[in-house]
Structure formats: structure tokens, C-alpha cells
């Protein structure tokens, strides 16, 4: 009888200890998850504000410049914009990540990859429209705009919900090119691509 009550007490103590250990294990896993997620986000998004403002301004200037200046001068506008974006992104990225980790300086980061991909896409359209007049750039813009837009929205659901605005802007912009492929198409693209991106950058800048 005595042995039995000892056994019950032992089991109760064991259960209490197990519950405490479970709580501690959960708390530690939460700490690990929180630390790792916030670190990854910080490294990934370091320089995010200035990068987004830069990309938004580039889109705005590039498309509005293309609308105002016709012909071969469009190349000069996009050349200037592209060089400015790439050079600034490299400088921003290197300065910010070197302060955190030596290895991070070689990382491109999703934002840089997206920016460079957008510029490459614009250059491809320019080249095709100049050298192959039968090509219709609006369909290419729609496809890439939708892909970028959906990608950014998907990423935003995990990283930063407000980034979804940029994704929406790309989708709206690409659809505009499909439905309103007219003279003011470049103005519409400049505004829908550029302004939300600048707005997001300013939001991040204010938050930081």
C-alpha cells in the first residue's frame, strides 16, 4: 500500500516535471525561431528602405522619361537609370551588410535580384522593340508584371505584409498595359510601378 502511494506520488512528480520540461522546450523553440527569423529578415532587408526608394524612382523616371523622349533617346534614359540603380544598390548593400557579417557582402538579396531582373526585362523590351518592330512588348510586360507581382505578394505573406502593395502595383501596371496599350501607357506604368515602390521605401525608412 505504502509502495503504491509512493509510486503514485512518483508518477505525479514525473508528470509535473514533464509538463515543466515541455513548457521550457516550447519556450526555447520559440526563442530560436524568433531569433532566426528576425535575423534573416534583418540581413535580407538591410538597406531595404533606400533600395526601394531607389527602384521606385528609377521606374518613375525611366517610364516617364521614355514617354517624354521618343526614339533612341529612350536608351539614354534607361542607361542612366540602370547604371544609377545598379551602382547605388551595390554601394548600399555592401555598406550595410559589412557592418553585420563579412560573408553577407557577397549576397545579392532578393531585392537586388528583383531590381536587376526588372531592369534586364526593360532592356530586353527596348532592344526587341528597336530591332524587331513586329514584337509587341505589352504581352511581355503583362507576363513579367504578373510573375513579379504574384512573387512579391507571396513573399510578403511570409516576410512583410505591406510589401504586398508593390506586388499589387505590378499586377495593376501589367494589366493596364494589356487593356490600355495606348499613348499614355508609359505614364501609367511609371506611376503604378514607381509610386507604390517609393511609398513602401518611405514607409520602411520612417519605421526604421
Amino acid at each position: 500500500m505504502e509502495q503504491s502511494s509512493e509510486s503514485v506520488a512518483f508518477e505525479a512528480a514525473e508528470r509535473t516535471a514533464s509538463a515543466e520540461q515541455r513548457e521550457e522546450a516550447l519556450a526555447n523553440l520559440h526563442l530560436i525561431s524568433q531569433t532566426m527569423t528576425s535575423t534573416r529578415n534583418e540581413v535580407e532587408l538591410s538597406g531595404g528602405a533606400s533600395g526601394y526608394i531607389l527602384l521606385g524612382t528609377a521606374m518613375l523616371l525611366g517610364f516617364l522619361g521614355s514617354a517624354l523622349i521618343e526614339g533612341w533617346w529612350q536608351v539614354a534614359v534607361w542607361l542612366l537609370v540602370s547604371c544609377g540603380v545598379v551602382a547605388s544598390l551595390v554601394v548600399i548593400r555592401r555598406q550595410q551588410v559589412t557592418a553585420i557579417s563579412r560573408s553577407a557582402r557577397w549576397l545579392l538579396g532578393r531585392q537586388t535580384i528583383i531590381s536587376v531582373a526588372i531592369l534586364c526585362h526593360i532592356w530586353a523590351i527596348l532592344a526587341l522593340s528597336f530591332f524587331y518592330h513586329a514584337f509587341s512588348p505589352q504581352y511581355s510586360l503583362v507576363v513579367v508584371g504578373l510573375v513579379f507581382g504574384c512573387g512579391i505578394i507571396a513573399e510578403a505573406t511570409f516576410v512583410q505584409p505591406r510589401r504586398a502593395l508593390i506586388g499589387l502595383a505590378y499586377i495593376v501596371g501589367s494589366l493596364l498595359t494589356l487593356f490600355f496599350f495606348m499613348d499614355y501607357q508609359l505614364y501609367a506604368l511609371g506611376l503604378t510601378f514607381g509610386l507604390p515602390t517609393i511609398g513602401f521605401g518611405l514607409y520602411r525608412l520612417r519605421k526604421s
Binding site: 515541455r22 526555447n28 523553440l29 530560436i32 531569433t35 535575423t39 557579417s101 560573408s103 549576397l107
Partner: protein, 123 residues
């Protein structure tokens, strides 16, 4: 909690018989070097960094530690070969880089696996 060695082996004499692993026995096999809260934070942070490396000042700021406190915990981790410390200069300013070693990463993964095991056992 029973003291454990570097590899997570327990020196507890009350080990359960084979096939009867309990949450207590799993908890006993937790790596004490990593189990300490600050060191757990340091190792988690390093595991999430590109190249598994971070600058001393960055770790200090992220975990809100003092120089002395961080140095003490880094020494413990370094003595167990979980991290490697490298000193250098950037723009003529002295910098200390802390890198998670392969052993440290393995220990960290083992620690997380043990935590998950504890939760499953109690459930």
C-alpha cells in the same frame, strides 16, 4: 537537470531502461552549453546569418548584452569548439568576427531535435 558532456551524453545514474525513454531522460540529454538562454540566442543568431558569421557589435546589439557578458558566453562556446573567433580591421577599426563551427551547428541541430523530442513525448 543532470550535467552533460560536450556531446550531450548524460552522466545521470537514473537512466531509464532501453525502450522506455521519457521526457526527463530527453531533457537530461540536452546540451548544457547551448541550453543556457544567452548562448542559445548567440548560436541561433549565428545559425541564421549568411556564412554563419556575425560581428561582435552586431550580436551585442541584437541580444542587448554588455561587452563583458557577451565575451564570457563566447569564451564558453569557443572552449567547446562551437564557435571560432577571428579579429581583424575594417577601415582601420578593430573588429571581432564570431563564426559558428561545423561542430557548433551540429550541436545546435541536435539540441533542436531534442527539444522537439521532449514536446512529442509529453504530448
Amino acid at each position: 537537470m543532470a550535467k552533460v558532456g560536450k556531446n550531450g551524453s548524460s552522466d545521470s545514474s537514473a537512466a531509464p531502461p532501453p525502450g522506455e525513454a521519457t521526457a526527463s531522460s530527453s531533457a537530461a540529454s540536452l546540451d548544457e552549453v547551448i541550453h543556457q538562454k544567452v548562448r542559445l540566442g548567440i548560436v541561433s543568431l549565428l545559425a541564421a546569418m549568411p556564412g554563419r558569421e556575425a560581428e561582435f557589435g552586431y550580436i551585442k546589439g541584437r541580444l542587448a548584452l554588455t561587452d563583458g557578458n557577451l565575451s564570457t558566453h563566447l569564451t564558453v562556446l569557443e572552449n567547446n569548439a562551437y564557435i571560432a573567433i577571428d579579429k581583424g580591421f575594417v577601415d582601420k577599426k578593430p573588429k571581432t568576427w564570431v563564426r559558428l563551427t561545423a561542430e557548433g551547428l551540429q550541436a545546435f541541430r541536435g539540441y533542436v531535435a531534442t527539444l522537439e523530442q521532449i514536446i512529442k513525448m509529453v504530448d
